[in-house]
């Protein structure tokens, strides 16, 4: 027996078991009317309003109870909110009413620079990023990168204040087509590819980024309030 048949059989069983079941006693024409009225209404309807639209003597509470049974396990259910009735999508099907809209974006200049520095210099603290970039980082920059899912907190540096260290994620590697962070091009490769001038400014060295914990790094356990730690970072390192 298919489940639709089961569903119908169940309603029938209910009707047989309880002779007083609303579905047994409901006037089917009135039931149709209530169904149509509730369907077409632009807002929840109360029993009084239904009674004025229905033929005189219609058993409004009985009809509503019958409808509620009829729609018991369907894709649409009859809800009662604040004494008013309305049809609503079954709550377990709410996911159907979601529409996904693709949207393409680009990171801001500050964000991509910060991301690049985190990628190359990880594990890196906020203060170190600011030192490399030569500007104070706005609060939102790392947040944005973490929200996108490309940057994570890796651990804490074993220095006063125990600042958190940032690193890149798996999603970062996927986005930028890298097998691992060691595959980020080094100085010579950057030069060969034309990203750097033939004669880079003195002191330009590209670190060798690594996922592994640095000797002075502790894994991040998150027990310390992160905000406090990041907040005190600047004071301690300045």
């Amino acid at each position: 027996m298919s489940s639709v048949a089961k569903m119908i059989a169940k309603i029938e069983d209910q009707m047989e078991a309880e002779p007083e079941n609303p579905l047994t006693t409901a006037n089917p024409e009135h039931l149709r009317m209530v169904e149509a009225l509730l369907f077409a209404a632009s807002e929840p309807v109360d029993q009084k309003a239904l009674a004025t639209s229905l033929p005189e003597g219609a058993d409004v509470p009985g009809l509503l109870a019958a409808l509620q049974l009829l729609y018991g396990n369907r894709g649409v259910t009859l809800c009662c909110v604040a004494g008013k009735y309305q049809f609503r999508t079954a709550s377990d099907l709410a996911f159907l009413l979601r529409k996904e809209k693709p949207e393409q974006k680009r990171l801001s200049r500050a964000a991509i620079e910060t991301l690049a520095i985190i990628a190359y210099h990880q594990p890196v603290t906020r203060a170190e990023i600011e030192d490399i970039r030569g500007v104070i980082m706005s609060k939102g920059t790392v947040d944005t990168l973490m929200e996108v899912g490309w940057v994570k907190i890796r651990g804490r540096k074993r220095t006063p204040g125990r600042p958190v260290t940032y690193g890149t994620t798996e999603a970062f590697l996927v986005q930028f087509g890298l097998e691992s962070v060691n595959h980020l091009p080094g100085t010579d490769e950057l030069k060969a590819a034309g990203f750097l001038e033939a004669i880079p400014p003195s002191g330009f060295d590209v670190p060798n980024p690594s996922d592994a914990l640095a000797p002075d790094e502790d894994p991040y356990t998150g027990e310390e309030p992160e905000d406090l730690a990041t907040g005190s970072l600047n004071l301690d390192e300045a």
Binding site: L107, I199, G203
Partner: protein, 277 residues
Amino acid sequence: MTIPAESFDDFEVVAPEEGSLVVMVDGFEGPLDLLLTLARNQKVDIAKISILKLADQYLEFIEQAKRINLELAADYLVMAAWLAYLKSRLVLPQEKAPDGEPSADEMAARLRWRLQRLDAMRAAATRLMGRERLDRDVFGRGDPEAVNVIRLRTYKDTLYDLLTAYATDRARKLGGKAYRPQMAPVLQIEEARERLERMLGKISDWSGLTRLLPFEWQGGARRRSALASTLLACLELARDGKVELQQMAPFEEIFVRDRAEPREPGPDAGAVPGSMT
């Protein structure tokens, strides 16, 4: 004469009043509509209607309208003339129709067909308007549930963007600017030539070379460089036969003109001592 108007549910027909022809004409949607109404008056199938009788009725209607000086739209009169012609041909013994013209019977059949078609389309319109209409007879969901839009954000940033950002950022921080050799204030001959070629056709007759120098190369060493390069460019163009040059005396102004221009005597007519063409 009274012409009963058909009453359609959805049609707003002005019911013709007795003796009020103005209202009646206003109630009709053109001569074909009037004919159809008259045809219905015959109470026979339109397919079998007597066109002769119909023509008579129509012409009588027009006569009445004229008698009370009713101004009829031109197409009613055109139809009247045509019907009168058709009537005359229908009444006369059947003769061979003039060249290429349908016979009177064919013309009558065609009119009948058009009346039938109009009648059929009217019926179709009534049927269409009689359908159950949304928001009049049937109703959709009164309170549709909103669809939640979830933005799926994807980023266009590539490894190229990442590396560019890293390299330029680091370079800027460490070395300031990358090395770029200082350019000497020299106007390249190629540049001067390109410039002159662009000006060809815009040079008005004989023009002094000094007047052709770029504005931004006016002072000191820059001017000398520009002058030298422009002169060399002019010589090249003269060699290629694109311009003519002349100079009255050494160290005097050199004049340039486009060879495409109609030839006129130079600033010093006749004598062209320094011609370098």
